[in-house]
Symmetry: C3
């Protein structure tokens, strides 16, 4: 069984759990933004009066950029992070140099953290795209490295 005493596997576990906390936290950012603005709901039944919605209004179902931004960020996470989870695990199992694994795995975490900041502060497209690219290239590199390692 993989052991956390193996620094490669520990590196993976730290990066993977940090990204899981990021994904789950994005869900809570959406909840926070819905609660704060009382807008951006997506289900008709959310207009039933209750503790979460004391004065319902059909306009609460309209698209709201402040809330939807968090959903778009969540979607971008889902397009990138699950692939990182599986590829990162297989990559460390190929036995790469520890320094390389640390640069790639923590580099991915840092790129996604920077992407989060750029997205939430509405930075121009070029800034967001740069951090997206760094994360994506890291996953693609690790996938090709793993594939090469298994096939040879």
């Amino acid at each position: 069984m993989p052991s956390f005493d193996d620094p490669l596997f520990a590196t993976y576990a730290i990066a993977a759990t940090l990204m899981a906390l990021k994904v789950m936290g994005q869900g809570w950012m959406t909840v926070y933004r819905m609660m704060k603005t009382n807008r951006g709901l997506v289900n008709p039944e959310d207009l039933i009066p209750g503790p979460l919605n004391r004065a319902p209004d059909p306009a609460q179902l309209d698209l709201d950029d402040y809330v939807d931004r968090s959903r778009r960020m969540h979607r971008n996470d889902l397009e990138n992070i699950p692939a990182f989870w599986v590829v990162g695990l297989l990559f460390v199992l190929t036995g790469p140099a520890l320094a390389l694994a640390q640069v790639l795995l923590f580099g991915f975490v840092a790129a996604r953290a920077a992407h989060f900041v750029a997205y939430v502060t509405k930075q121009r497209h070029e800034v967001r795209a740069t951090f997206y690219t760094i994360g994506s290239v890291i996953v693609i590199y690790m996938a090709l490295h793993t594939l090469w390692s298994v096939l040879t």
Copy 2:
């Protein structure tokens, strides 16, 4: 190699495969609802006449709450379950008490099953939010437990 003879790993494998069946089943619920109502299509080419669509009508591409509800449920699954898969695996590899692992892993499965029922029967927001919260807090707890275990 992790073995299913290890009750911790067997617990994980049962919970993880149940959630995979849930996610795949949600896709089939969308298919069923599209077939039943002949509505909620998302691709222009789905209006080509054929066995799946004998009398096409452009209104079939309009948003349909009955079909879209299943897609929203699918999206909510994807926002929560892949993080559970990776965090649950790393969590059981930290060697927690079996009873704790069973409560958390099967608790997540039960919370997501209850979330499914609340969503499909259009329960008020507070009910759905309660089960979402239980599942999300379990994943966050397992991630923090794993991170703590690896770092100390």
Copy 3:
């Protein structure tokens, strides 16, 4: 620790990394289509003039089928491939016959490749649905096989 010398695990690693490259590549297809048409943007701040957008126009935020098709393909990937990653791993750990594992795992990769071609070339619904079904049934079969194997 699972070893790539085990042909079952090597089969899984090849199929899993190929699907990761597919998912990451779908993100780049969306980028390519946005760049080529200069349309299909989703964030208001992407209208800030810059190297990626020299002549901004609010119509760039309108839904564009050419760009959105790639996003819909990505979404369909996310509804199927992460479940494949976790179920495929657990399935090979149950120690199935190698030939069975190869047929299922590479069969899933082939079905998703065919689904990609059908989607991008706008084939009729029946064609796309056929390849979706093959991939989905493979994941469901592997999940049931794994569950059965763990419970008995």
